[in-house]
C-alpha cells in the first residue's frame, strides 16, 4: 500500500461566537497557514476535500461559499462530505492511494454559534420515532453516561468523569487554540449542579466555532514537504445501528473494529487524540482502544477544550500528526466520532520515522 502522510496541520482559535466573520473569513487564514507550511499554492494541490454541515449554518449549500477561500481557479479536483473533516481526510487518503494524486488539501469548519446546537442536533435523529420528541444532544449523552455508571464492569463513577474533565482542561492550558482551559480539581467540580443528570457542565464540551485543515502527501513528496511526516499506517471507520435502544451504550464495537482494521493493536501507541465530546465517552473509548495508563490521552485538551462540530474530528488527526511532526510522539492514535452517542467512529494510526 502506498505511503501517505499528514504533512501539515492548522486550526483557528476556537471561540464561542464568531459573528463578526463569515465562514470563509474564518476558514481562509487556516488554509493559508497549511499551504504556507508546505510552500504550495491551492492550484498545486492535486485533490481537495472538505467536510461541513448545512444544518449548523441554517443554509442549504453553505459549503459552496467557503470554496471561495480556496481559490479554485483554474478549476480544481474537489469533493465534499456532509461529515466531520476526518471523513474528508479518509476520502482524500483513498485518492492518494490510487496514485491519482500526490498531494491533498483537507479542510473542515463548523459554526455552532448561529443556532441552538442542542436543538439542531435533534434533527439528526430518526425522523419518525425520535426527532418529534426533540431529545437534545446533552440528554442523549446523559443516558449513555448513566448506563456507564450503572454497568458493573466499568467501575466508572462521577468522580472518574470529573477526573477526565479536569485532566483535559488542565492539559488545554498548553493549547493556544483551545476555547476552554483550566479546571478546578475533580472534587470541586462535583459540587456543581447537573445540566442533565448525571452530566454536569464540566462533563460537556464547549459549544463553539472553528476550522481546521491538513495537507496530505504521498511517499517522497511527503518527505520533501515535511521534516518528519506523520505516516498514516492504518485508517478505518465503522458505523453502528442508529437507535439508542438497540445498542449497548456502554460499549463502542465500531471503535473497536475500526481500531483493529487500522492496526492499532499491532504495537503500543504513545499518544492518543480521542474525539470524546463528553467525559463518559472518553472512558468508553479508552476501554475499546485498550489504552493503558502509559498512553498520553488528549494532551491538546480534546473535544472538552474545543469542539467545533465538523472540524473536531479532523483536529484530532491534526493534533496527533503535529505531535509526530515535532517529535513529541512516535506512534499515535487518532479517533473521530459522528452521530448520537458515538454512532460512527474513525480510527487512524500515525507514525513518524525514527529520528
Amino acid at each position: 500500500m502506498r505511503e501517505v502522510a499528514i504533512v501539515a496541520f492548522g486550526q483557528s482559535d476556537h471561540r464561542r461566537d464568531t459573528a463578526e466573520i463569515s465562514e470563509v473569513e474564518m476558514l481562509m487564514p487556516v488554509l493559508h497557514q497549511v499551504l504556507d507550511a508546505v510552500g504550495l499554492r491551492a492550484g498545486e494541490i492535486d485533490f481537495t476535500c472538505s467536510g461541513s454541515c448545512d444544518y449548523l449554518a441554517g443554509r442549504a449549500f453553505s459549503f459552496t461559499m467557503t470554496l471561495d477561500g480556496v481559490g479554485a481557479w483554474p478549476p480544481i479536483s474537489e469533493s465534499h462530505v456532509e461529515m466531520d473533516g476526518a471523513w474528508a481526510l479518509y476520502e482524500a487518503w483513498t485518492r492518494l492511494l490510487t496514485g491519482e494524486a500526490e498531494t491533498a488539501l483537507v479542510y473542515s469548519y463548523g459554526k455552532s454559534s448561529p443556532g441552538d446546537l442542542r436543538e439542531v442536533l435533534t434533527r439528526q435523529l430518526d425522523p419518525y420515532y425520535v426527532a418529534p420528541l426533540w431529545p437534545d444532544s446533552v440528554s442523549l449523552a446523559a443516558l449513555q453516561a448513566q448506563a456507564l455508571l450503572d454497568a458493573e464492569d466499568t467501575g466508572a463513577d462521577e468522580r472518574a468523569l470529573a477526573g477526565v474533565a479536569a485532566r483535559s482542561r488542565t492539559a488545554a492550558e498548553g493549547n493556544p487554540h483551545a476555547q476552554l482551559t483550566g479546571s478546578p480539581p475533580p472534587e470541586a467540580l462535583l459540587e456543581d449542579p447537573y445540566v442533565v443528570r448525571p452530566l454536569r457542565r464540566h462533563d460537556c464540551p464547549p459549544v463553539g466555532d472553528g476550522a481546521a485543515a491538513v495537507v496530505l502527501a504521498a511517499g517522497d513528496t511527503a518527505r520533501r514537504l515535511c521534516r518528519r511526516p506523520a505516516w498514516i499506517r492504518g485508517i478505518d471507520h465503522r458505523t453502528e445501528a442508529h437507535s439508542l435502544g438497540v445498542r449497548d451504550l456502554t460499549r463502542s464495537p465500531s471503535t473497536r473494529l475500526a481500531a483493529e482494521r487500522a492496526g492499532a493493536f499491532e504495537a503500543p501507541v504513545d499518544l492518543a487524540e480521542l474525539h470524546a465530546p463528553f467525559t463518559s465517552q472518553e472512558l468508553i473509548l479508552r476501554r475499546e482502544l485498550r489504552l493503558g495508563e502509559g498512553v498520553r490521552v488528549n494532551p491538546s485538551g480534546g473535544a472538552l477544550a474545543a469542539n467545533p462540530l465538523m472540524a473536531a474530528g479532523l483536529i484530532r488527526l491534526g493534533e496527533a500528526a503535529a505531535a509526530i511532526h515535532r517529535g513529541a510522539a512516535d506512534r499515535a492514535l487518532a479517533h473521530a466520532t459522528s452521530g448520537p452517542c458515538l454512532q460512527q467512529n474513525l480510527v487512524a494510526v500515525l507514525e513518524g520515522d525514527d529520528t
Partner: protein, 388 residues
C-alpha cells in the same frame, strides 16, 4: 503503481414519481439498493462499505440522514461515507465509491443516492429566508434562463432548439419504465405551445420534482468475474470544481466542465469523443442545456452544439444518442439525478437498458453538474475492462 479496475455489476432504481407516499425514506433507498444487489446476485454480507449521497439535508428535514439510514442500508459494522456536492452529488458519490475499490481499500461497495422531495418543497429548501439578502427574484428556472439567452446570443441558435430536446427526452422516457414523466400524448407542437415560464424557457422544457433513489454495486476484477450479467467497466472518472461566482466566469460553457471532460477522455484514451462515445447521459435540467453541454463536453465545436440537436444526431437512433433514458427532463430526484446519469450510462454498455437500449453501445459517458454550474463529475464506462 496501478489502480484496481472498477466494474459496475449491479444497478437498481425506484420508479420515480412526484410523491412516494407508500414508503419511508428508508423504504425508498432500500428499494433501489435491493434491486442493485439482486442485479449483482449479491447479499448484504457481500458489501464491504456504503457510500451515500444526496443534495441538501433541508429537502427532507433530516440532518445527516445517513445516520438514520445505516440500518436500512446494511451499513452496521461497516464503513459509511456521505457525499454532498450539490447537484453533481450523485456522480461524485459514485466516484468516491469507485475510489475505494481502485485504491484496493475495499472489494465490493454499495453506492446510493436519493431525494425524497415530497417530504418538503424543493423551492423552500433552496430559498430559505436568509437575512440581508435579496429574495430570489425568479425561482429555479430564473437562475438558468439568462444563461440560455446568453447561449442563444452567442451562437445564433434558433429559438426552437430547446423544444426539440424536451420532445426527444420525454419520448425517450416512454421507453424507460422507471422514468417519472410518461407523457404519452405529448407532441412537439404541445411543447412549443406550453406556457413560457422564464422566457426563453417553456414549461415543457423544465425538469419535474421527483421522489427517487438509484443504487449501484461496484466491485473489483475478481468481483466482476463472478457477476451474473456483463459488467460495465470504468475507464475514467473525474471531478472538477470552480467558484460559484467570479469575474470572468463562463456560465454558458464553464471551464470546470471542459477540464473535467478532458480529464476523463484522457484517462479513457478518447481523442474524438463524438466518434468514440456511443451514448451520453448528461445532466440536462432545462432543455437548452443539451446543446450547451454538447459543446462544453467536446462533442461539438463552440457554437455548433445546437446543430447536432437540430439534425437529430442526439436522437436515440442518431449517431450520438443523448439521454436515451429520458434524462433529468423526465426524472429529477435531485440528489439521485447525477447517479442516474452514471447508472444509465452503465446500463447501456451492459446491454441491459431494455426498451431504451442504444444498439451496439460499447462506450458511454455519464455526466452530472451542480451548484452555480460549478461542480462537475463524469465517468466513462465501457463493455470491456480498461487496458492496464
Amino acid at each position: 503503481m496501478t489502480k484496481e479496475p472498477v466494474a459496475v455489476v449491479g444497478i437498481g432504481q425506484t420508479k420515480h414519481t412526484a410523491a412516494r407516499r407508500d414508503v419511508s425514506i428508508a423504504g425508498l433507498v432500500r428499494e433501489a439498493a435491493v434491486r442493485a444487489l439482486d442485479d449483482a446476485q449479491l447479499g448484504w454480507a457481500d458489501i464491504d462499505a456504503v457510500v451515500i449521497g444526496k443534495a441538501p439535508d433541508f429537502f427532507e428535514g433530516v440532518m445527516m440522514p445517513e445516520l438514520y439510514l445505516a440500518d436500512a442500508l446494511g451499513a452496521v459494522g461497516k464503513p459509511m461515507l456521505r457525499v454532498h456536492t450539490a447537484g453533481s452529488v450523485g456522480g461524485s458519490t459514485a466516484l468516491v465509491a469507485s475510489g475505494l475499490i481502485a485504491a484496493r481499500v475495499h472489494r465490493t461497495v454499495l453506492t446510493l443516492a436519493f431525494e425524497k422531495q415530497s417530504e418538503s418543497n424543493a423551492m423552500w429548501g433552496l430559498s430559505l429566508p436568509i437575512p440581508f439578502q435579496q429574495p430570489l427574484l425568479a425561482g429555479a428556472g430564473g437562475f438558468f434562463a439568462p444563461h440560455v439567452r446568453a447561449y442563444m446570443r452567442r451562437t445564433g441558435a434558433p429559438s426552437g432548439i430547446g423544444a426539440l430536446v424536451a420532445y426527444k427526452d420525454r419520448r425517450n422516457a416512454l421507453r424507460n419504465p422507471y422514468a417519472h414523466l410518461h407523457e404519452h400524448d405529448l407532441t412537439l407542437e404541445r411543447v412549443r405551445s406550453s406556457p413560457m415560464l422564464w422566457d426563453p424557457i417553456r414549461y415543457s422544457e423544465t425538469c419535474p420534482s421527483s421522489d427517487g433513489a438509484c443504487a449501484m454495486v461496484l466491485t473489483d476484477r475478481a468481483g466482476a468475474d463472478r457477476a451474473p450479467y456483463p459488467p460495465a467497466w470504468m475507464h475514467g472518472g473525474a471531478m472538477r470544481s470552480e467558484p460559484t461566482l467570479f469575474a470572468g466566469k463562463d456560465f454558458v460553457s464553464p471551464r470546470a466542465g471542459r477540464d473535467c471532460a478532458a480529464d476523463v477522455y484522457r484517462q479513457a484514451g478518447i481523442t474524438d469523443p463524438r466518434r468514440e462515445i456511443d451514448a451520453v447521459e448528461m445532466y440536462v435540467p432545462f432543455s437548452w442545456y443539451e446543446p450547451m453541454w454538447l459543446e462544453n463536453l467536446g462533442f461539438a465545436d463552440e457554437g455548433a452544439g445546437w446543430k447536432l440537436t437540430e439534425s437529430g444526431v442526439t436522437e436515440i437512433d442518431g449517431e450520438l444518442p443523448v439521454n436515451p433514458s429520458g434524462g433529468v427532463l423526465s426524472t429529477n430526484p435531485i440528489g439521485a439525478s447525477g447517479m442516474l446519469r452514471f447508472a444509465e450510462a452503465a446500463l447501456q454498455v451492459r446491454g441491459r437498458a431494455g426498451e431504451h437500449q442504444v444498439d451496439g453501445a460499447r462506450k458511454a459517458l455519464g455526466h452530472a453538474y451542480g451548484g452555480g454550474s460549478q461542480f462537475f463529475s463524469m465517468w466513462v464506462v465501457a463493455d470491456t475492462p480498461p487496458e492496464s
